[in-house]
């Protein structure tokens, strides 16, 4: 796409800006030369042997400038080619020597134009270009000083060298610094973008792992426990297959319903059916479903399944409460209890499916457990703007 548009659009932001600066400078010095010719190149004071020369000079640089601008708009990369640079330097040398060619002694007809060729070379090919074009112009300037003005004093020579080499070096150095820092910035932006997409990938993976843990691993555990009952195993396997299929291929159809309470109701029903315990659900207030609320529901389901499986109890109490600021779900059993700090690393349930999941959704999970009092999991989520309270 970009190549079809051509011209300056092939360049990046920085190069476009630098090019505009160089062309702007060129425009200023062209105007300067035109004014010089109007003021000094005409009238009584102008005593040129060849009066057509100043006018030709103006014509050439105005046309050349127009051509350069056109080229800039149509084929930006042409400005960096050697043929363009050679022509540009030739024009600048011509301008520098214009008053000599015209035979008008020391009447200045160059203005700042020759220096703009150095700037153009820096823009086009960087440091080497600057030195080559500055070399040509310095040569022309020295020829003018020595031959035309018969001035071969050391001071004059030094002055010429200084006034061509210094700007060339300065331009080249400044542009080089700007370009280097721009490249560094771009590199770090790319690195940042890479890092971000890597993080998204990791989070997605954790989400998938948590889901598989909740569904497939839980079912496998149930199958192991009831391996002597082939009907039960078949039922569990079939249900798991259905659930996994719909998760993989369909819209997320875990039957979570349209609100927190209906989702928790499905969770309670599901666990009651699977694990043969009573889930006592009590709710105060309700909110509409959102991604975060769905994660909360999944964490709650994990907590309820854990209580049903490991607690060794008949009843699991679930209490959900929604107020203006937060959504809290309590999952409690009076079972065996465990030490939350003592979870084996391969048991992803509590760590990933509950704590990690709540943290990724911007909420938190607290687990209180002791052998005497059983276990209570407290899931808290701040209410987000997209969630609508249901009265």
């Amino acid at each position: 796409m970009a190549s079809e548009r051509g011209g300056i659009y092939e360049l990046n932001d920085l190069e476009r800006t630098l090019g505009r600066i160089v062309l702007g400078y060129r425009g200023v010095v062209v105007t300067w030369v035109v004014l010089l010719v109007l003021v000094a190149g005409t009238g009584d004071a102008a005593d040129f042997d060849r009066p057509w020369v100043p006018w030709t000079e103006v014509g050439v640089i105005v046309l050349w400038f127009a051509f350069t601008v056109w080229l800039w708009g149509r084929k930006g990369d042409a400005l960096t080619s050697w043929w363009f640079l050679a022509l540009d330097v030739s024009v600048a040398v011509g301008v520098l020597l214009a008053s000599w060619i015209a035979g008008g002694q020391n009447i200045p007809l160059a203005g700042g134009y020759p220096l703009s060729a150095v700037a153009m070379a820096v823009f086009a090919v960087g440091g080497p270009g600057a030195l080559i074009s500055a070399g040509f112009l310095l040569g022309a300037a020295l020829v003018r000083r020595v031959v035309l003005l018969s001035d071969s004093s050391l001071a004059g020579l030094i002055s010429d060298v200084a006034s061509w080499v210094f700007p060339a070096v300065l331009f080249a150095w400044a542009t080089g610094v700007i370009r280097t820092s721009d490249r560094r910035r771009q590199r770090s932006e790319h690195a940042l973008a890479d890092e971000r997409s890597e993080r998204v990938r990791i989070e997605e993976r954790a989400e998938v792992a948590a889901h598989l843990h909740d569904s497939v691993l839980q079912t496998l555990a149930l199958i192991q426990r009831s391996s002597s009952d082939s009907d039960e195993v078949t039922t569990l396997a079939r249900r798991q297959e259905r659930e996994l299929r719909s998760w993989l291929f369909g819209a997320e159809t875990l039957g979570l319903g349209g609100s927190l309470v209906s989702a928790l109701r499905s969770v309670a029903d599901g666990v009651e059916e699977k694990a043969k315990v009573k889930v006592e659900l009590v709710s105060v207030g309700d909110v509409s479903m959102s991604e975060a609320v769905e994660s909360l529901t999944r964490a709650a389901r994990e907590a309820v399944s854990n209580a049903a499986q490991h607690g060794g109890v008949d009843v699991v109490d679930v209490y959900s409460e929604v107020d203006d600021e937060r959504i809290v779900v309590f999952v409690r059993d009076r079972g065996a209890g465990f030490d939350p700090l003592d979870i084996p690393p391969d048991r992803a349930g509590v760590r990933e499916s509950i704590v990690g999941r709540m943290q990724r959704s911007g909420g938190s999970a607290v687990i209180k457990s002791s052998p005497e009092r059983g276990t209570e999991v407290i899931l808290t989520l701040p209410v987000a703007s997209e969630e609508v309270a249901i009265k």
């Binding site: 006592e280 009590v282 709710s283 105060v284 207030g285 008949d314 109490d317 209490y319 409690r332």
Partner: protein, 212 residues
């Protein structure tokens, strides 16, 4: 000391199951499956506690409770409401009409026995579900005509109810909040009184719909 109970429920299997498994200190004086016979039987046998199903044909538990209280006044037994389903308006209507507590049919037999003893002793019995209903009824903010004595729960009462809703027993609530079990009971009784006397919009709406 035994507690005498009469069971009113239209579900035969449930009645039989409860009657057969209650511990010895709970004496079942009789059972009824319909509203009219239930009222007669209660007035005749005078149990300490009536275990009353919320949902029955011909007016449900509310009809039984209202008639009995109308006939016996202060001598009426205490009522413990019981239901399988979740309609909060029915349950709250029954509480407002004078029931001293509410349990769900999934309650275990030891817990049911404990609840029967508790209401017989004059305590209120809040299941997690009833605590949830009450919190819900008192949660929506109403500016106008609020009687803070009756229409609002104190922070402490609210905290007690929240723990009950989470599945804590009175004893556990006391341990968690560092208060005695007696204090928990008095908070719960106070909530029950507010529930019966408050004129809050939600509560009066329920009451109106139920013809109280």
């Amino acid at each position: 000391m035994t507690t005498s109970v009469l069971i009113v429920d239209d579900h035969d299997l449930f009645r039989a199951g409860v009657r057969g498994t209650l511990p010895d200190d709970i004496e079942v004086l009789g059972e009824a499956s319909e509203v009219a016979p239930a009222i007669e039987l209660i007035i005749e046998r005078r149990p300490q506690v009536v275990l009353l199903d919320v949902h029955m044909p011909d007016g449900g538990g509310l009809a039984v409770l209202s008639s009995v209280r109308a006939s016996l006044g202060d001598d009426a037994p205490v009522f413990l409401a019981l239901s399988a389903s979740d309609a909060p308006d029915d349950v709250v209507a029954l509480i407002r009409a004078g029931a001293r507590g509410y349990v769900t049919k999934t309650i275990s037999i030891p817990d049911l026995a404990a609840a029967l003893r508790q209401v017989a002793a004059g305590e209120a019995v809040f299941s997690p579900r009833l605590a949830g209903f009450v919190l819900d009824a008192f949660s929506s903010v109403e500016i106008e005509g609020i009687d803070p004595e009756l229409d609002q729960l104190t922070d402490r009462e609210r905290e007690v109810l929240r723990h009950i809703a989470r599945g804590y027993t009175y004893r556990e609530v006391g341990e968690e909040l560092f208060i005695s079990i007696k204090t928990v009971e008095s908070h719960v009784s106070s909530v029950l009184r507010k529930l019966q006397l408050s004129n809050r919009h939600e509560l009066t709406k329920w009451a109106h719909e139920r013809g109280i």
